[in-house]
């Protein structure tokens, strides 16, 4: 029952072959069984989930059900969910019950989806391995000695291990795509502005974007139908019409032009990953696509640009966590300065503190031009590279990450190696274009993700391409056997 896709679950629910209460209970049982070893959930909402499932069943009976009525999902713990603990995996917010609902979670609730709980993540979305959480690290269900990727590691693992039908994630520099790749699931980072950021706790506002994580492109399309669209509460959300993301899934790929940037296949790329990606490219050729070699010359600059812009925005975004109104406050502060410094030193992990300090430095008087403004100029160059390339080809393909999931602890002492993990994903956020991670094979028993990058607001096309691939391959249907490595 747990391995089915959303379309078939919707049918079964409508035909009363199962009830949402049964479905929800089975996922809760699975969470109970697997979460102790995987640590994918920070909060499990059994009672409210079952109550919502009961309502969904009633709505189905009454014919008033929304499109996702009764489908159990989970949310990354940086979406504010009213009345539920919302921690961002930080000690700073370990006592924060959100007083309101984010647009993404509200729209999914409106569509009838059931919230099973809130998933683990790298603290404030800062990390690529989900080892940086106040609630402990998350393990990869394909190999418990390895990381699930980050920052949406808990969301990826919940789907991969069958603890939720689908989940929400957020992607600032690869945080949906990289864990999706490491865990063998499908994830979509939409165009910046396609999905509202209202109620999403900000890491880097100009890069953050929420998106779906699920077993297949089709499941992602179901979620996109609920969450995409303009939101007057987010000034940066785009006033561009949404589409029915399920409508074009079955369009044939004849005549599709795929660009392969040479910078995505150079030094540092694991050969097993490269083989899987080239195999996938061949599959597209057999489906009627034409392959073209292209170049994104400024790709290597995306890491320094990202690690100036993202920390700069973060240093300001995280200023509100000051111990004054909510969140962690130190014991017995002796004065205001002591309250600020101790509350923040205790509430934030070292990685978060490091990024706040880097950002504070980059924005300081005398350094602003050399760092922040220069990084913004690089950002424009990277954007131009993509715009130029996407004039020549329909989509760009390459690996999501240079390697498959790495061992827990292997990169925690080497921040540069950790940051290099994001070399293929960061540039997409800097440009603001949409991109997907699609399961495309295995290397040494670990999943490999194919990245598909498209033009602004081309989510429908990306989902169509991924769906056609999934109609002709079964990588996305592979599931981890939890005995492995346990």
């Amino acid at each position: 029952m747990l391995e089915q896709n959303i379309s078939s679950l919707i049918k079964k629910l409508r035909k009363k072959e199962i009830t949402s209460v049964e479905l929800t209970q089975s996922y809760l049982t699975k969470i109970q069984e697997l979460n102790p070893s995987l640590n994918s959930f920070i909060t499990v909402c059994s009672e409210s989930a079952l109550a919502a499932a009961k309502q969904a069943d009633a709505a189905i009976d009454a014919g008033t059900a929304g499109p996702l009525a009764g489908i159990p999902i989970a949310h990354k713990d940086l979406f504010c969910t009213q009345g539920t603990l919302t921690t961002c995996a930080s000690k700073m917010l370990s006592n924060f019950i959100a007083p309101y609902e984010s647009t993404v979670t509200a729209r999914l609730e409106q569509a009838g989806a059931i919230m099973l709980g809130k998933t683990n993540m790298d603290e404030f979305a800062m990390g690529s391995s989900n080892e940086n959480s106040h609630y402990g690290l998350v393990k990869n269900p394909w190999n418990l000695n390895q990381v699930p990727g980050g920052s949406s590691g808990g969301s990826a693992v919940a789907v991969a291990a069958g603890m939720a039908v689908a989940t929400t994630g957020t992607d600032t520099g690869g945080s949906i795509r990289q864990p999706a790749s490491f865990c063998g699931i499908t994830g979509l980072k939409p165009t910046y502005g396609r999905v509202s950021r209202f109620g999403m706790i900000a890491y880097a506002s100009s890069l953050d974007q929420a998106g779906p994580m699920a077993r297949s492109a089709e499941d992602c399309a179901h979620l996109m139908n609920a969450i995409a669209g303009f939101d007057p509460q987010d000034s940066t959300s785009a006033e561009v019409d949404t589409e029915d993301y399920l409508a074009d899934l079955n369009k044939p790929l004849d005549g599709l032009t795929i660009g392969l940037p040479k910078e995505y296949f150079g030094e540092g790329l694991d050969s097993g990953v490269a083989d899987a990606i080239m195999q996938a490219v061949k599959e597209f050729e057999s489906l009627g696509a034409t392959i073209k070699d292209i170049s994104l010359p400024n790709l290597k600059l995306s890491i320094p640009a990202y690690y100036v812009i993202a920390p700069s925005e973060a240093s300001s975004n995280l200023s509100r966590f000051d111990g004054v109104r909510y969140g962690h406050r130190c014991e017995d502060p002796k004065d205001l300065l002591d309250m600020y410094t101790r509350s923040r030193a205790e509430g934030f992990s070292k990685e978060v503190q490091k990024r706040i300090m880097v950002g504070t430095y980059a924005l300081s008087e005398g350094y602003y031009d050399a760092y922040y403004l220069k990084a913004q100029r690089i950002r424009r160059l990277i954007k131009q590279d993509f715009v130029k390339a996407l004039n020549e080809v329909d989509v760009i393909m390459g690996p999501v990450a240079p390697t498959t999931a790495f061992s827990i602890g292997s990169k925690t002492d080497d921040p540069v190696a950790m940051y290099l993990e994001d070399i293929y994903t960061l540039s997409v956020n800097l440009a603001g274009i949409p991109a997907m991670s699609v399961p495309a094979g295995f290397s040494n028993g670990m999943p490999v993700g194919l990245q598909i990058m498209g033009n602004y607001f081309a989510e429908s096309k990306l989902l169509n391409i991924a769906h056609q691939f999934q109609q002709n391959t079964d990588w996305h249907l592979q599931t981890p056997s939890m005995e492995k490595g346990a």
Binding site: L93, F96, F198, M200, P232, S235, S316, S319, D322
Partner: protein, 481 residues
Amino acid sequence: MNWEIVIGLEIHAQLSTQSKLFSGAPVLFGAEANTQTTLVDLGMPGALPVFNKEALRMAVMFGHAVNAEIGMTSVFARKNYFYPDLPKGYQTSQMDDPIVGIGHLDVTLDDGTTSRIGITRAHLEEDAGKSLHEDFHGMTGIDLNRSSTPLLEIVSEPDIRSAKEAVAYVKMIHSIVTYLGICDGNMAEGSMRCDVNISLRPKGQKEYGTRTEIKNVNSFRFIEKAIYTEVERQADILEDGGRITQETRLYDPEKDETRSMRSKEDANDYRYFPCPDLLPVVLTQEYVDQIKATLPELPTSKAARFMSEYKLSKYDAGVLSSTRPMADYFEVVNKAAGDTKLSANWVMGELSKLLNQNQADIKDSPVDAHNLGLLLARIKDNTINGKTAKDILLNMWNGEGSADEIIDKKGLKQVTDTGAIETMIKEIIDANPTQVDQFRASEADKQKKMMGFFMGKIMKASQGKANPGVVTPILMTLLKG
């Protein structure tokens, strides 16, 4: 030494929008703490700002009013610093690309001289909340009602050369923003606050001296006094061969002194950068032109029109155009009365006196402009005289009806019947032979003064109803015998 005073002003005008600059919370003064707030004003995690378009319209209006360049693309920036009543840890303001660019204002002093003050810029920003240090048993209370209230910060060039000029400039800005209806101008409630930058330099020197900034001065009088005090302090230091420290100071009106708040070394590095939660504000020429077309008549042009259209003196025109309610009131009175000089005198005289006595604003005057005009029309058509009119105005103030109703009810219509008046005058002349003899023995100009005595008697006898215009020639003839 002969010092030249150099002053630049930063004025914070609170815009009278219905809701806040970046949230839908209402802007109300004096509400219970933390009741006028939304998620945005509280700095909740994940809350996002949405720019209030009404504040934009008001800022563009102001830009036009001070002949300024309008920023066709303006950008909100974050000014980062920690303070307990600053809920987000940054203030959303504008830095490199303000909504209003370079402009100017011509300011006229009491002595009639006019000088042009440059305006560097005016930008939109949100206000912070308030820290409350009393009644919290050693702790501090935070009230975020004011958080995200829209402010327009108006920055002048260092073109001001005296305290009087500074006050005239602030009054002019005050008058403009209230005319435009974009700020209520209530300085006591903090709707308009002023930071004064002051430096001295030897007369003739080109370079500016080191300046100090006096923060948050909130009345015209205090601005003037603070400048005098600070100029004296700086001059004393410089005369003694000392140096001015660049710093922020506070003016204490009770002790009439300025005190150091913090020096430049303690100043924050605000780490300004463009706010990624807000898009740049891009205006179309059409939008800007449309606002220009709907701009109301401003105080300077209104005063000029009062002089040319109503032949008012410069002084009268200045007083009557000083606030928009006053100007509007005067024009309605004038229309109903049909006599400009009479209308001007009564609005500036009797009415203003009553308003002052009752500490009422002209907007809330119990006697509306049209009715005051009708009262004056009765003076003009000789139905009543001025003295009776003053009494009637009091009756009207107390809600006893319109001028005509009161005249009817109390029988105050003045007597213009020559026969009746002549009889009355004769009786008075007969009853006061001594004074009549004195009158007849006096020189012509002395006689004029003595007329007052008889006039008083006649008015008393007629209960003020005798028409002075009719009385005077008859009285003169009869007295001269």
